[in-house]
Amino acid sequence: MEPLTNSSQITEERSIVKKIEPRKNPNKFFKFINSKKVVPYLFVAPFIISFLVLTLYPMIQGIIMSFQSVLPGQVQFIGLSNYERIFNPTFFEALTNTIWYVAFTVLILTIIPMLLAIFLNSKLVKWKTLFRASFFLPALTSTIVGGMIFRLMFGEQNTALANQIISFFGLDPVNWRFTPWAAIFLMVILASWRWIGVNILYFLAALQNVPEELYEAGDIDGASAWQKLRYITIPQLKPIIIFVSTITIINGFRMFEESFVFWEAGSPGNIGLSVVGYIYQEGIRQNDIGFGSAIGVVLMLIIFLVSIIYLIATGTFKRGENQ
C-alpha cells in the first residue's frame, strides 16, 4: 500500500510543477529586475526622478521665467527687462544688508567656535560635556522661537533686558528693531547664537584628528602655548576653517528667516531686508514670479562667484596642499 501512496504523491507533485509552468513569465520578470545590471538603477531611480522633477526642471524653468512676465493665464517673454529692473535702490539695500550679515556671521561663526573648541578640547577645561551640550542647545530651536526670544530681550522698552544692561553702563536705551545698525546686529546675533554649537562640533571633530606627535615635537622645541596654537593647531585646522567659513558664506546669502522673524512683512526703510526676503516679497507677495526668478538667478550667480573667489583665495584648489 505504502509505495502506491508514494507514487501518487509524486504524480501530484509533478502536476503541481506543471501547473506552475505558466508562471515562467513573471519569473523572467523577477530575474530581470533582480539582475545586478538593473538593481542599482532601480535603487537610484528615486534620486533620478526627484532630480529631474524637483531640481533640473525648476532650475530651467526658473531661468526661463526670469525672462518672462508671469501672470495667471498669460505668460509673456519680455527679454531682459526683469534683469534691468533689478538695478533699483531696494535691491541694493537688500544686497548691502546681506553682505554685512555675511561678513559678520563669517567672522563670528568661524573665530569664536574655533577658540571655544580649542578650549573644549584641551585638558584645561572641566565639565566639557555639560558645556558642549549648552552650546549646542540653541541649534535645536527654530529661528522663529529663537527670534521671538531675542525680540523680547531686545525690546524697545527701557525695561527689556538689553536696554537694562546698556543703561547700567550709562548708555541710552536703543530702539533695536527700528535702528539701521541694530537691525543688522539683531540678525547677526540670532544666527550666531543658533549656529555656534554646530560649528564647535565641526572644529572639535577636526581637532581630534590633529596628530599628538606635533605637540610633542613642539614641547621638545620649547614652544609656548601661543606658539603651538599659531604654528600647529591653526594650520592643522585650515581645511575645516575653510569648510565652515564657506558654508557660512553660502548660508549667509540665503538668509531669510532671521529677517522675517524680526519684521515679518517689511522693515522700516528696508533696514532688515535680505536678498531672499526680496525674492519672497516680489515673487510671492507681489505675485511677480518672473521678477522674483530673475533675482534668484542673480543671487545664484553671486553665491557661485563669491564661493569660487573665496575658495581660490584660500588656496583650496591648489592640489595636495590641504590633504
Binding site: P46, M59, F131, S142
Partner: protein
C-alpha cells in the same frame, strides 16, 4: 609647587571663561522657560527683563494653551505629521540611493554621485519660485504632500548614507546571494539593519530640519489649520497681537519633541553631524 599652582589657576580661568560663554548661550532659553510662567501682560509691557515679579508667576499660560488654543494643537499635529512623513520617506529613499552608489558597480555611478554633490550646492531659493508654480499647477498647495515633496530625496542624506555604506562588509552580499536571497532581500534584511546608526543620525537631522523648516511650508501651506508650528507661531508675532500667552508657553512646548529626540539619539547625532560634515 608654583608650576602645579599655576596650572590649577589656568584650569579655573579657562573653565570659568568657557562656563560664562556657555551660560550666555543657554541664557535666552532659560529666560524663555522662566518667562513662560509670567503673566502675558507683563511680557507685553516689559519684554524679557531682569526685573521679574516672581510672586506673579503661575501656570496660567500653560492652562490657557492646553484648554483654549485649539489652533496651536492643530499646528502641532501638522508639524508632527509632516516631520514623520519626511523622516520616513527621506530615510527610505535616501538610504536606498546612497547604498546603491556605494555598493554596486554600474555605469553612471560616478556621474550620479557628482550630481548629488552639485545639487547640494544649488541654493533652494532659485528653485523656490518654479517649485511653487509647479505645486500650484499640480494643485498640491495646502497639502501635506506638497510640503514634504521637495524634502523626500535629500542630497545631504544620500551623501551621508553613501559614505556610511562604503564601510559595509560586501562579503555578506555574496554569502546572501549563495543562500538564494534577492538583491532587495539583501538590502532590506541584511544591509539596512547594519546601517542603523547612520539611519538614527539622519532621522534626527532630517527631523530637526523638517520640524524647524520655515520658508517652503510658508509658501505651500495656506489655511490656518494646515500651518506648521514655526509658521503658526510667526503669525502670532504681529505688532498688534496680544498672544504672548500662546507664544511663550507654545514656544517652550515646541522644543519638547526635539529635546526628546536629541536625548534619545544623542550619540548618533553628534557622530552623524561630524562625520557627515568633516568629510564633506
Amino acid at each position: 609647587m608654583t608650576i602645579s599652582k599655576k596650572k590649577r589657576l589656568y584650569t579655573w580661568l579657562a573653565t570659568i571663561g568657557v562656563g560664562i560663554a556657555a551660560f550666555i548661550t543657554v541664557f535666552p532659553l532659560l529666560s524663555l522657560v522662566v518667562s513662560s510662567f509670567r503673566p502675558s501682560s507683563d511680557l507685553m509691557r516689559d519684554g524679557i527683563s531682569l526685573s521679574i515679579d516672581f510672586s506673579k508667576m503661575s501656570l496660567d499660560n500653560y492652562t490657557y494653551i492646553f484648554t483654549q488654543a485649539a489652533d496651536y494643537w492643530s499646528w502641532y499635529g501638522n508639524s508632527l505629521i509632516i516631520s514623520v512623513i519626511t523622516i520616513v520617506l527621506s530615510l527610505f529613499f535616501s538610504s536606498m540611493v546612497g547604498y546603491a552608489l556605494a555598493v554596486y558597480d554600474f555605469k553612471g555611478r560616478n556621474f550620479f554621485f557628482l550630481l548629488v554633490l552639485l545639487i547640494m550646492m544649488v541654493p533652494f531659493e532659485i528653485l523656490m519660485l518654479p517649485l511653487y508654480q509647479l505645486m500650484i499647477d499640480l494643485q498640491l498647495i495646502d497639502s501635506y504632500f506638497g510640503a514634504v515633496l521637495p524634502m523626500v530625496v535629500a542630497p545631504v542624506a544620500v551623501f551621508f548614507f553613501r559614505q556610511f555604506a562604503m564601510g559595509l562588509p560586501l562579503q555578506l552580499m555574496d554569502a546572501a546571494r549563495i543562500d538564494g536571497s534577492s538583491e532587495y532581500g539583501i538590502f532590506f534584511r541584511i544591509m539596512l539593519p547594519l546601517m542603523a546608526p547612520s539611519l538614527a543620525a539622519m532621522a534626527i537631522l532630517q527631523g530637526l530640519g523638517s520640524w524647524n523648516n520655515f520658508l517652503w511650508p510658508l509658501l505651500v501651506l495656506r489655511s490656518n489649520d494646515m500651518l506648521t508650528l514655526p509658521i503658526g507661531l510667526a503669525t502670532l508675532l504681529t505688532p498688534y497681537g496680544n498672544n504672548y500667552d500662546v507664544l511663550i508657553a507654545g514656544s517652550v512646548l515646541t522644543i519638547v519633541p526635539i529635546i526628546i529626540l536629541f536625548i534619545f539619539f544623542q550619540k548618533f547625532f553628534i557622530a552623524g553631524l561630524t562625520t557627515g560634515g568633516v568629510k564633506g
